[in-house]
């Protein structure tokens, strides 16, 4: 095969000239849309987590309207409270992660704040339920005061 500077130069030019620019598979608009979809999906997930925490709060609040009938129920409630505290600790870690990532970038700020408020209220409720069942209602002075009314 003839090989000269001229032919090689021509071949090189041909390759360069005919090399097509690859269009990105994802256009800039699609990229933005995908990002927005991801933010919306995250927003929905955070709202769902807040709603779960609020639901738990509501269930714990309902517990306060009942009395523990026997030691079996007492053991169950102690177990539930322990689980709730663990759940709160894990959720708080989740919140911190969200705060240090998305929140910092200004994404889902309202939802993350709402999540924290729901967690704070939940913690408050769990501690109060523990106090109601295992301190207040076991306190003879408190019970005698209530009976005097």
């Amino acid at each position: 095969m003839e090989s000269s500077v001229l032919t090689l130069g021509k071949q090189i030019c041909e390759v360069i000239t005919h090399d097509k620019i690859i269009t990105p598979k994802i256009s800039e608009q699609e990229r933005v849309n995908r990002l927005l979809d991801a933010i919306n999906s995250t927003r929905t997930k955070i709202n769902k987590m807040s709603s779960n925490v609020s639901k738990l709060d509501e269930l714990f609040t309902k517990l306060s309207w009942l009395e523990l009938a026997n030691s079996e129920e007492e053991i169950l409630i102690k177990k539930v409270i322990a689980q709730a505290k663990k759940y709160h600790t894990n959720s708080l870690k989740n919140y911190i992660l969200l705060k240090n990532t998305l929140f910092k970038d200004g994404i889902c700020k309202i939802e993350i704040d709402d999540y924290k408020n729901a967690l704070d209220d939940f913690e408050d409720t769990v501690l109060e339920i523990e106090q109601i069942f295992f301190v207040l209602r076991k306190d003879d002075e408190f019970n005698s005061l209530l009976n005097s009314i």
Binding site: L136, D139, F142, L146, I149
Partner: protein, 146 residues
């Protein structure tokens, strides 16, 4: 439904309301207590600390503040007497801010029961109502309380 305050409760609300962030305390009480019926008061964010749930429960209620959204709000301690259709407000503290607090200690809660009993025995509860300017007033003298 009749709503009663203790003097201690009035003093506490007055102190709380001095902070700009809690100047809505009276409004929040109106929204959460005065504009509700007994069942609504009982069924929204309310825990029973003690007392008979069907006759005279001693309660702690979460109040959402009217101007700061969910992040703020108050914790209200009250007593409901169904057969009298009476609600007695005993203590309140904001969730956040200088006068905020977490759950009251058992000792403080016992103190509230004693305060309730004393006021009831000595007939020193102050009956309140709303006037046409949407302000809480003494039901007898018609003087604005806050």
């Amino acid at each position: 439904m009749q709503i009663f305050f203790t003097q201690e409760f009035i003093d506490e609300v007055t102190l709380i309301s001095k902070a700009n962030s809690h100047s809505d305390c009276e409004l929040s009480l109106i929204h959460s207590v005065f504009n509700k019926n007994i069942d609504e008061i009982k069924n929204t964010g309310t825990k029973r600390l003690g007392g008979d749930p069907n006759k005279n429960p001693f309660l702690r209620k979460r109040i959402v503040t009217s101007n700061s959204g969910k992040s703020s709000g108050y914790r209200l301690y009250l007593w409901i007497f169904y057969f009298e259709n009476n609600v007695y407000l005993l203590y309140i503290h904001p969730k956040t801010g200088r006068r905020s607090g977490t759950n009251l200690t058992p000792e403080k809660q016992k103190e509230l029961v004693k305060t309730f009993k004393e006021n009831r025995d000595n007939n020193t509860f102050i009956r309140t109502e709303l006037n046409n300017k949407n302000k809480i007033v003494n039901a007898i003298t018609k003087e604005e309380i806050f």
